[in-house]
């Protein structure tokens, strides 16, 4: 808690605005990524205002005929689905579930990964061995098949998806943070903190945790992309939450109704592009922060 408040206090210092703008100018890739995120976040927040129809409403075109496979027009920006639903509204509402899954899963990945990485790296000994062996086991699990099996055994829902992504992705973060902590714990100021009688808990969370925050953020932005991709794949295969409108569910609907051979491009190209650009944004941000953390990789 204390570490969070110190980070917030540091960010609120005068001149931080200039620092942020300087970062954006020096990291064009990262700022494009942040821009894409902000755009999607705005769409998700104002989804009800942007969407032209209720995404679940079955539309009719005169004489009680379902308005299926309508081409793109002024009333339906991207046409309608086989079930007579507005594609554009589904796309807009799909942003919500994509961002929800991505951000919550990334949050839990970062929390679990950082916590286990810190404990493993600082405490060492049997704690380290236990956590790292568990991490080895988790890393050797096949990713998507595991998510499918978990969501099949439980009721398919967004919660189980987020939980299984978080359970599978934390070891990567934990390993990197552990190796960073191994070097940090030998530094002079950690020694000084120990000498002045700080408890291990205080050293870990007050003195070491803020130092590895940028690294955790980097792995968080990668995890967002992974979570969104996993959610899309699982929904596409029919293991997603059937009551939530998501891009993966739209793709599944389009695939099952042979949208490709019917040539209904406006139905499945937009959700695909949305998934790609959101995942790409995460990787762009991670590339930018990678350059800050490991300047040697830059050109």
């Amino acid at each position: 808690m204390q570490s969070a408040s110190t980070v917030a206090a540091r960010a609120a210092k005068p001149g931080s605005v200039r620092r942020v703008s300087g970062f954006l100018r020096s990291q064009p890739f990262a700022s494009v990524g942040i821009g894409i995120y902000l755009l999607f976040a705005l769409v998700a927040i104002f989804a009800d205002q942007i969407a032209t129809h209720d995404p679940r409403e079955i539309l009719f075109s005169g004489a009680y005929r379902v308005a299926r496979y309508l081409p793109a027009s002024a009333t339906h920006f991207l046409g309608t689905t086989a079930g007579g639903r507005d594609v554009f509204s589904q796309l807009v509402h799909g942003t919500r579930s994509a961002l929800t899954v991505g951000v919550t899963a990334a949050f839990f990945v970062v929390v679990l990964g950082t916590l286990f990485g810190l404990l493993s790296g600082y405490l060492g000994g049997w704690v380290d061995r236990l956590i790292m062996r568990i991490a080895d086991v988790v890393i050797s699990l096949p990713f998507l098949p595991f998510v499918l099996v978990i969501s099949a055994l439980t009721r398919p829902s967004t919660t189980t998806l987020v939980a299984s992504v978080a359970l599978l992705l934390w070891p990567n973060t934990a390993r990197v943070i552990r190796s960073q902590v191994l070097s940090l714990r030998e530094r002079g100021w950690v020694e000084a903190a120990r000498v002045t009688g700080c408890s291990p808990t205080r050293i870990i969370f007050v003195h070491i945790a803020p130092q590895i925050a940028p690294l955790a953020a980097l792995y968080g932005s990668i995890a967002v992309g992974w979570a969104i991709l996993t959610e899309a794949s699982a929904s596409f295969l029919g293991f997603g939450d059937p009551n939530t409108i998501s891009w993966g569910l739209m793709l599944q609907d389009a695939f099952n109704n042979q949208a490709l051979s019917r040539g209904v491009w406006a139905w499945f190209i937009p959700p695909g592009l949305c998934i790609v650009s959101l995942v790409l944004a995460g990787f762009l941000i991670s590339r930018g922060s990678e350059k800050l953390l490991f300047p040697k990789l830059g050109d």
């Binding site: 050797s140 699990l141 096949p142 990713f143 998507l144 098949p145 595991f146 499918l148 099996v149 099949a152 794949s233 596409f236 295969l237 029919g238 293991f239 695939f255 040697k296 990789l297 050109d299």
Partner: protein, 157 residues
Amino acid sequence: MKLWALIAGNPAPLLDSFSHIILPALALGANSAAIISRLVRATMLEVLNDEFIVMARMKGLSRWAIVMRHAARNALLPVATAFALGLGQSFGGNVVIETVFSWPGLGRVLVSAVQGADYPLAQGAFIMIAGVLVLMNMVADLLYAWLDPRVSVGAKR
């Protein structure tokens, strides 16, 4: 079947199956290709700063010879590892691609078994996928030790 047709002097079925493998293979390989190119870039940058590269430059070798004969050989070491890892992952991780291209693979067996609540089959498929993944991870480690004599397996530290 397809190979028998080739022996019988009819290459058409084999060529036909090649044309059907192009798109799934591209879709499956694009991901690993991107990862491997980032990896090679990172190791290349590292290797090009090494002393033996400076030495080769002092010998007056051309830039091409330095990059291909001296640097690339060392930078390609992690590629072997990444290749083995990617092979293991694509074994079970291509569930979506198998579905899209209606390719009757192990991933689709798993999906249909889970959807049909055929748990013994799902277990078998999952264990098979996990087993290959673990095996390829081990192959990757061993391959790395075999290719790079500086790394040794099971040595005491």
